[in-house]
Structures are given as structure tokens and as C-alpha cells.
């Protein structure tokens, strides 16, 4: 098999596979960071963009991937897997998906390594970019923050799918045939998120006072001790066969040649070591998460203190109220990887959540909580009334009923409308208050606005609208109609002239 492949082709192919594996890991991990990825196109090749795609290299991820590969390449029986899992702030974890880069024995001897294989690997990476946004873990990763984070683990060897639960689905990203085997890239993802959601609901039970300690310090400090295991197959030689490839300073400059009408040509890869050193030359900023390479925590979408969203989101953390004493300095120091046109992520300043309201199960649901002091009112939406609310006793405006007044529904509603002005709280049926309308002065006129309003708020009914009279007048009107019509017809010319003057 290998004898059919020229040494140069073999070398090229090994290099392609190695960098393809590294780029695959980068794409998968970056897609689970929780942020939108944005890289720039460049018409002139920069020399370090493998597969003609602008995929940034996060150094820690590359380091982990290389560590997992340990100088080997994905091959037949040696698969490279990236496992994505979710870990809650309480320490529960759950595997979400496993991406597998495998090779099977089906060879394509006639394929051109340096052209066709390279381009097909590029196409496969593009497919991976698209598919990583489609699996369920993507949405979860976009919403990660203080309640849970997404972790990755790279291992080499046999694929382990048992952690994905029952009924996991598989999606194949694509295959590329090579002279030494067919590379396949696929993803197995969990469909049964029930465990997580039931745990979510359990956590919504306790009130805030009990779980207060979760938010006092960094929820994931204990993760410092957690190192995902990178499997190393025992007894395999490291690096001996591939000494020539183990070089992080490699740059790929690909040039292709065409010779019409067919594609029989030779292409050569030239490897140049740039003067300044590493591949990171093109990536000025990168994830600065030195402490926790496997944990991709970015400041939560909602900022340092999560806001209460307008609509409940499925499958994610229930909202918790926050104690303002929770230090905002606790937001993790990790900066998200930036890109060419990066938007600097700032912690939202809206930390001033009212402690009056705790978890919002639904709008206007009046949960019994100690913090809410205004719920004893019978006012509608009393919970939203201003907190600095004068009590009845202190309010000088409140008086006992001065005189009997006709009770009418209008009056009752008037009181509830004006209570915010007067400060009165109509806890009994009707409380007569001296109505002092805003912005009115009573110095000049003997009758002020308030008095006028009170006196004329119940005007007598119009005579024409009273029932006795109306029936009679209606009958009279009907009788007189024909006469009126006759008069109008006689004077039609007058009316027409009048209309003309209007035009």
C-alpha cells in the first residue's frame, strides 16, 4: 500500500491528516465556547491558514490536542475523539456529544494527495463548521454561564459512547478517501436531556437563603483539580516515526499547478519557518485561560449577574435572584477568543437587580417571599408599586370621610386611581379623602380644581337621554320626518349653492 505512494506524497498526507485533526479540534472547541465566531477572508494567502480556511488556533487547545495525539496520527483503529460535556455549578456533569475522527481500511489509491485530498479535507472542515452549529449542544453552549459550563476532553484510541445515554443520535459530517484509508468524521450526540431538566427543576425548589453560598465565591474553583484524562494507548511508540512532522512552527504554503486539460501535475508544499516564530503570528489574541485549559467559561451572557429573561428558555438553568453582595469581581478572568472584527465583551452593568423579586416563575405570580413587602396591598400590581411607600398613618392626606357622598362605582374607581396621589390605601370599601389633584393651586379662587371636580363629577343626566322623554321625542321625530324631507327638497338649490361655496 505504502509502496504505491511516493515518499513525498506520504509525507504530505501525514501532514494533512495531522493538521486536519488539529483544526478539527479547534473548530469543535471554538463552536462550544458560547460565542459567535468571526474570522476574516483574505484574498492573499497568509501561509499559515491550513486548508485555505481562517480557523484560529487557541494555543491551549492545540496543546491539549497534541498531548492527546502524542505524536501519533488518527489511523485505522486509532480514532481521535473530542468529548463535549456539561458541568453544572453543583458539580453534576453530563456528556453531550462525542466527535470522532476515524479512519477505515477502504483506500482510494488513485486519488491525488496534494490536490484532491487537500481540497476535500477543506470541504470537510467547512461541513464541520456548519454541523457544529446544528447539534443540540450548540444552543446549550451559547447559554452557558454561571449555572453550567461546557467542557471538552480529547482522547485517542477507541471511541466511547456509553456516556451519551440511551437513544443517542449520530450525524456523519463527511468522509474523505485517501490512499491509506478513508477518513470519516462524525458526531454522536445525546438526545435524552431529561436527567438535566429534572435536576433543574429540583434546584428551583429551595428559596434563596439556603443556597446562598453558591454565589458567594467562584462556583468552579474546585475545577482547578480537575484534569480531563487524555488517554494514551500503552505500549505505543511515541513520535519516532513522525519526527519530521512534530513541529509547531510549521507554516503551510500551498501552491497548485494546473496543466490543461487534465489534472496531471505535481504540486509541492513548501515549508517555511517564519522569522518570528509560531503559528500564532496570525492570531494576535487568544484565549488567556491558562489556569483551566479544559473549561471554557466566558462571562455569562447576562453579564456578571444574570438578568431575569422575558421568556423562559428551554433546557437551561432556572433563573435565580441574585444577592447584590455577590462580588462582581468573581466573573472569570478568561477572555473569550477574539477574532478579526471582534466585539469586546463587556459585563453588563445592570447588576442592580431589585432584591424585592426573587425567581420569576411567571409574570405577576405572587410567590410568598419575605422580601416583597408590598404584597399585602389589595392594589392590583401592588408588587410593582414603589418601595418607598408611605404608610397610611404617616400620610397627612388621609382623613376619615368628611360628609356622606353618593356612592357610585365611579367614585370607587376614582379612589383607586387617585390613591397614588393621595397616598391613601383603600383597604376598606371607600375611604373619603380630600382630593388634592396634582399641580393645582387653591390660593386665588374660592373653588379649586379638586372641589370643582368633586362637585361636577356627577352631573345630572341629559334630558334628552332620559328614558321617559326619549321615547316620546323619538316618535315625534319620526312623524315629522316626511315634512322635513319635503322642505329640504324644495330648498335643494340653496343647499347646492352652499356646497359650491365650500369648494
Amino acid at each position: 500500500m505504502d509502496s504505491d505512494l511516493s515518499p513525498q506524497d506520504k509525507k504530505d498526507l501525514d501532514k494533512f491528516i495531522k493538521f486536519f485533526a488539529l483544526k478539527t479540534v479547534q473548530v469543535i472547541v471554538q463552536a462550544r465556547l458560547g460565542e459567535k465566531i468571526n474570522t476574516c477572508s483574505s484574498s492573499s494567502p497568509t501561509g499559515s491558514d491550513w486548508f485555505n480556511l481562517a480557523i484560529k488556533d487557541i494555543p491551549e487547545v492545540t496543546h491539549e490536542a497534541k498531548k492527546a495525539l502524542a505524536g501519533q496520527l488518527p489511523g485505522i483503529g486509532r480514532s481521535m475523539c473530542v468529548e463535549i460535556s456539561l458541568k453544572t455549578s453543583e458539580g453534576d456533569s453530563m456528556e453531550l456529544e462525542t466527535w470522532c475522527l476515524e479512519m477505515n481500511e477502504k483506500c482510494d489509491k488513485d486519488i491525488k494527495v496534494s490536490y484532491t485530498v487537500y481540497n476535500r479535507l477543506s470541504l470537510l472542515l467547512k461541513s464541520l463548521l456548519a454541523i457544529t452549529r446544528v447539534t443540540p449542544a450548540y444552543k446549550l453552549s451559547r447559554k452557558q454561564g454561571h449555572d453550567y459550563v461546557i467542557l471538552y476532553r480529547i482522547y485517542f484510541g477507541d471511541v466511547q459512547l456509553t456516556g451519551l445515554g440511551e437513544g443517542f443520535q449520530t450525524v456523519r459530517v463527511g468522509i474523505v478517501g485517501t490512499p491509506i484509508g478513508t477518513i470519516t468524521l462524525s458526531c454522536a450526540y445525546r438526545t435524552n436531556l431529561a436527567l438535566m431538566s429534572s435536576r433543574q427543576f429540583e434546584r428551583t425548589g429551595p428559596i434563596m437563603g439556603i443556597i446562598i453560598d453558591h454565589y458567594v465565591e467562584r462556583p468552579f474553583t474546585n475545577m482547578a483539580h480537575m484534569h480531563p484524562c487524555s488517554y494514551r494507548a500503552p505500549g505505543e511508540d511515541e513520535g519516532g516515526t513522525y519526527a519530521g512532522i512534530e513541529d509547531s512552527q510549521e507554516v503551510c504554503t500551498t501552491s497548485f499547478s494546473t496543466s490543461p486539460p487534465s489534472q496531471l501535475y505535481s504540486s509541492r508544499l513548501s515549508y517555511q519557518t517564519p522569522a518570528l516564530g509560531t503559528v500564532d503570528l496570525c492570531h494576535p489574541t487568544a484565549c488567556t485561560a491558562a489556569a483551566h485549559p479544559h473549561q471554557m467559561v466566558v462571562p455569562g451572557k447576562e453579564g456578571g449577574v444574570p438578568q431575569v429573561p422575558a421568556q423562559p428558555t428551554h433546557g437551561t438553568a432556572a433563573e435565580h435572584g441574585r444577592i447584590p453582595s455577590c462580588p462582581t469581581g468573581q466573573s472569570p478572568q478568561l477572555a473569550p477568543p477574539t477574532s478579526c472584527s471582534s466585539e469586546v465583551k463587556t459585563v453588563s452593568p445592570s447588576d442592580a437587580l431589585e432584591t424585592t423579586f426573587t425567581r420569576k416563575v411567571g409574570a405577576f405570580v405572587n410567590k410568598a417571599t419575605t422580601q416583597v413587602t408590598t404584597t399585602s396591598l389589595d392594589l392590583p400590581f401592588a408588587a410593582f408599586a414603589p418601595r418607598a411607600y408611605d404608610l397610611q398613618e404617616n400620610d397627612p392626606m388621609v382623613h376619615p370621610p368628611p360628609s356622606p357622598a353618593p356612592s357610585s362605582p365611579l367614585q370607587g374607581s376614582l379612589h383607586s386611581n387617585t390613591s397614588s396621589h393621595s397616598g391613601g390605601q383603600p383597604q376598606d370599601d371607600f375611604v373619603m379623602v380630600d382630593f388634592k389633584p396634582a399641580f393645582s393651586k387653591d390660593d386665588l379662587l374660592p373653588m379649586d380644581l379638586g372641589t370643582f371636580y368633586k362637585e361636577f363629577q356627577n352631573p345630572p343626566q341629559l334630558a334628552s337621554l332620559s328614558i321617559d322623554v326619549s321615547v316620546q321625542s323619538m316618535a315625534e321625530d319620526l312623524d315629522s320626518l316626511p315634512e322635513k324631507l319635503a322642505i329640504y327638497e324644495k330648498n335643494i338649490d340653496e343647499f347646492d349653492a352652499f356646497v359650491d361655496t365650500l369648494q
Partner: protein
């Protein structure tokens, strides 16, 4: 050479049409675009770099990846907007189809004009539904998001069959295979057409037009 034809169908609400079409078209174009070719002497060429961008949809629970090229994005958005307007103005019950066709130009001798030979056609059939209330809309958001995910998987499946692709052209032939008008990326030559289905389920006018055009093109 036979033209490969793929049909995708989606049912969306009116305001989701644009984003759904953009998601599908951009996903296809992501796979059918390369970096800019730079030809050097001796018949060799190098390829520029293609950047990518995540796009969140506003009316659908979905994020898609597109090529980082504002020029290309503008062209696609314009075509989709025209399609959406036509769909809205048609007075039909909201059914239409937008097609993305990749073709090659074949130079013909005078007096015949160049032939456009399609090698891959993607047809996206759209069915616009009307929803009664906000709850249905919310469900639709998620459902359409899942459906689009399935479409992306379908697209990727077709593309990774590695069926026919035009041969890489020489410098003189590159405009017969690729659209070299953009400054940052180079998609294969493509054209976007659409047709609105009237209530009888036939699109009479466009079919006639196409027949006539094809006859004349010969």
C-alpha cells in the same frame, strides 16, 4: 454530464422566509466557495483564505455559518429579498421556489453565444404558513430551527458525496468556472432564480419564459 439536482422543502412563517433562505443558501455557498486564486508563472496558483462568520437568526432558533464576504452576502440578501417580495405580492397561497444553480460556461464558436451548463442545482421549495397566535409562533421558531438543522445535514451529506466538480481551470479559463468578481472569495459560477407557484400549483409564466429562453440559447 448530468446535472445534479437537489430539492429541499421548508415550511415557514412569513417573517421567517428571509432568514431561512439565507441560512440554506449561505450554507451551500460556504461549501461552494474557495479563496481567490492567484496564478503564478509555470501554471501554478495559490488560493486565498476563506473566513467564516456565525449568523444568529432573529425569527428562528437557529445559527448558520456563512462565508465572510460582505459583497457576497449583499448579493444573496438582494436575491432573497426579491423572492420574499414576490412571494408576498403574488396573491397565491404563499408557495414558491428559489433555485441556486451552479454552472460552467462553455465557449462556443461565433456566432453562437457561450453556453451555460449547470452542474448542480439546489431548489428550495417554500411554503408560507399563517399562524394565529404568539404561542404558535414560539413553537414555530423552534420547529423551523430544527428543520433548518436537518436541511444543513442534508446539504452536507450531498456535498460530501464528492460527486462531480468542475476541474480546476487555468488562468484563461477561470472565469468559465468561478465567479471572480468578488474581491475576497471566489464562489463557483452561480445564479439564483425563483418562481412563485400560483394557486393551481403550476407556474405557467416562468415555465414558458424558460422554454423560450432555452430554445433561443441553442
Amino acid at each position: 454530464m448530468n446535472c445534479r439536482s437537489e430539492v429541499l422543502e421548508v415550511s415557514v412563517e412569513g417573517r421567517q422566509v428571509e432568514e431561512a433562505m439565507l441560512a440554506v443558501l449561505h450554507t451551500i455557498l460556504l461549501h461552494r466557495s474557495t479563496g481567490k486564486f492567484h496564478y503564478k508563472k509555470e501554471g501554478t496558483y495559490s488560493i486565498g483564505t476563506v473566513g467564516t462568520q456565525d449568523v444568529d437568526c432573529d425569527f428562528i432558533d437557529f445559527t448558520f455559518v456563512r462565508v465572510s464576504s460582505d459583497e457576497l452576502d449583499r448579493v444573496i440578501r438582494k436575491a432573497v429579498a426579491e423572492f420574499k417580495d414576490a412571494l408576498g405580492n403574488s396573491g397565491s397561497d404563499g408557495m414558491g421556489q428559489i433555485s441556486l444553480e451552479f454552472y460552467q460556461k462553455k465557449k462556443s464558436r461565433w456566432p453562437f453565444s457561450d453556453e451555460c451548463i449547470p452542474w448542480e442545482v439546489w431548489s428550495i421549495k417554500v411554503n408560507v404558513v399563517n399562524l394565529a397566535n404568539e404561542q404558535e409562533r414560539q413553537i414555530c421558531r423552534e420547529k423551523v430551527g430544527e428543520k433548518l438543522g436537518e436541511k444543513v445535514i442534508n446539504i452536507v451529506e450531498v456535498i460530501n458525496r464528492h460527486d462531480y466538480l468542475p476541474k480546476m481551470p487555468t488562468q484563461s479559463e477561470v472565469d468559465n468556472v468561478f465567479d471572480t468578481s468578488l474581491k475576497d472569495v471566489q464562489p463557483y459560477l452561480y445564479k439564483i432564480t425563483y418562481q412563485i407557484t400560483d394557486s393551481l400549483g403550476t407556474s405557467v409564466s416562468t415555465t414558458m419564459r424558460r422554454l423560450i429562453k432555452d430554445t433561443l440559447a441553442l
